[in-house]
Symmetry: C2
Subunit: 267 residues, 2 copies
């Protein structure tokens, strides 16, 4: 998907919501466990209930990989079911030496037809570049993450600037606003304005609203620009809004509530 297509979806839906399909088998409603493919059955219902309110879906690959071969089948079926109007993110946090990252790119952009993949920056340019050679596919690079461990290394200072800023400044030369986004946690609100100074136009993927405690309003205020180039992700607070038979309905309600909060930013 191109940047223009994604921006156009956001503006037409008045939504920059991404739904995280962290479909943990131990948390999906019990009545689905008798289905042939409980994960896909769950995802299908979640997608049906939320697709009008969001512009993107982000399966976290760990929840599929942990199920062995059947998990990869559920992932493929889920990806096939997501409407082509929606941007898809393989939240995989891959990254390896050049010839190996090339294989990961093949996995997620050729075998699976994802629009984008999250990538870890630690190994530098040759671990990221192979993903950037695909037309209209995106790298979403970890910059400042939403978790507690983000404090261990991402704020280390070199030359007066924290590591995550070095990651932003160096890596933005590797791609463009058309194929490179950044992960910035919603729990990191005090750093968002500084981040927008370095990358005013790049898309940000912002997880951490909901279960992790980030505020949608605070995040939107500090990161929105003319193109609305942000994707705010919520996973657990939407997909596990209810663990009963009304799980899909409740997920839809929760997604709609987020979309309504977002709508006020569109004039």
């Amino acid at each position: 998907m191109t940047r223009q297509e994604l921006v156009s979806q956001i503006k037409s839906k008045k939504s920059f919501l991404c739904v995280g399909l962290d479909s943990d088998i131990s948390r999906i409603p019990k009545h689905l466990h008798t289905s042939d493919d409980p994960i896909f059955t769950f995802n299908k219902a979640i997608i049906d209930a939320t697709k009008d309110h969001c512009v993107a879906y982000k399966p976290n690959i760990a929840f599929y990989e942990s199920l062995g071969a059947s998990g990869w089948v559920s992932l493929q079926k889920t990806l096939d079911y997501i409407p082509k109007t929606h941007f898809t993110i393989a939240d995989a946090k891959r990254g390896d030496i050049g010839n190996t990252s090339k294989q990961y790119a093949k996995a997620f952009f050729e075998n699976y037809d994802f629009d984008s993949i999250t990538v870890a920056p630690y190994m530098g340019v040759d671990s990221v570049s192979p993903f950037l050679t695909y037309e209209n596919r995106w790298v979403i690079l970890l910059a400042l993450t939403s978790n507690k461990g983000a404090n261990d290394f991402q704020h280390l200072q070199d030359d007066g600037k924290p590591l995550y800023q070095h990651v932003l400044e160096k890596s933005k030369e590797w791609g463009s606003e058309e194929n490179l986004m950044y992960v910035v946690g919603a729990t990191q609100t005090e750093y968002l304005e500084q981040i927008r100074k370095i990358i005013p136009n790049h898309f940000l993927l912002i997880p951490g609203v909901g279960a992790q405690g980030g505020s949608l309003e605070e995040v939107a205020d500090k990161t929105l620009n003319a193109d609305y180039s942000i994707l705010i992700n919520s996973s657990r607070s939407i997909i596990f809004a209810s663990e009963g038979e009304d799980f899909a309905e409740q997920a839809g309600e929760k997604a709609k509530a987020y979309q309504l909060e977002m709508e006020k930013y569109f004039s």
Copy 2:
């Protein structure tokens, strides 16, 4: 596998060689492509030819993941075929927020029965800890990698110390010499002595000998200790020593040559 068992294997074989099963489908000999499972057929022959000369096998997961569902089947068959005497490494470079890393740990330590997994440090403690809760399983954390991109961020200095040293110093508190190893590239010889000062006893997994240009002798001189706690990995220079029908024989010869180079360090 425990540290004691691994050290004992190393001493008895006079080898600290790890064979990297980066079994790229586009590089395995043509005559194997008619087999039902070319990747497993290739790996099986490589394992038969090299097992007497090495103590560990390291499949890089990207080469299996890039093949879709069939790749995971080949990986499982390969893992089942590796003798229980050999240490197994899932070279996966995973890492995510806590509840997600827990899923990756489940994938590689429960669904697949790997002794260890490589993990990226960027997201900090909660991305690493879930892997350390399994008894006799290991995290192999990226510290200073062998690739060109290692220079982008791993040498940034905070408080007079580069990022990779902060990673070593902080993370060594998260685990012990019994469940935590580090990746240190063989191409990084000028830093190896400094690294050994910080972690004199931890196992090091050292890739980069062979195709990437690192010298076995230089690396061994600077990192060996009383327990011989290093694993020197070679992938392409062994498994693709020949792309003809004699590929396994040539791989065996190459592995044996490495083992003979290693033997001189055992008194």
